[in-house]
């Protein structure tokens, strides 16, 4: 098998954003506060990563006002597809590395 490392999505393949994408993949929607609590990231950093993901078209943002203003985030179709592609590559790497 031929691994093409150029195909690694730089947007996803960064520690912080990889963490975000992985979390987002497990649940339909996440509030900003929950993400922050789970990731133990500074909010500035978290927002920046979310914006990067948003600009790449991977993440959708929903703003609502319940009793408190609350923004929630989820993967777009495109984001899901990109993440699936990324995971497939990881799998190949794991297989190659262990085989």
């Amino acid at each position: 098998m031929k691994l093409d490392f150029d195909k690694i999505d730089r947007v996803i393949h960064e520690r912080g954003r990889l963490a975000i994408m992985t979390l987002l993949a497990t649940r339909v929607r996440w509030s900003f506060a929950d993400l922050k609590a789970e990731l133990k990231m500074s909010d500035g950093n978290l927002v920046t990563h979310l914006r990067t993901l948003h600009q790449a078209g991977y993440v959708a943002t929903t703003k609502e006002i319940l009793d408190r203003p609350q923004t929630s985030y989820g993967l777009t179709e495109r984001g899901r597809a990109a993440f699936a592609g990324y995971l497939a590559l990881l799998e190949q790497i794991v297989k190659t590395g262990q085989g």
Copy 2:
């Protein structure tokens, strides 16, 4: 399962070095020229990554002079262990992301 993204080894988790580590894992030794040809990296860049990996104790360097001077590279025990740990984390991410 609880994923700890802080455990991601920054030395390994970079595109170029991840490629190098993956290649090194598949064969006992690689010549510099072979790595360069396979990775399509500039030699300066490749050397820098190899040095980083070397300083982390993950890669051993062997210099020999056959007809031409030739340097070859291989994983150390520590490198192999670190890479295995990294791959295990990748596996968890893949599982979490797909589950």
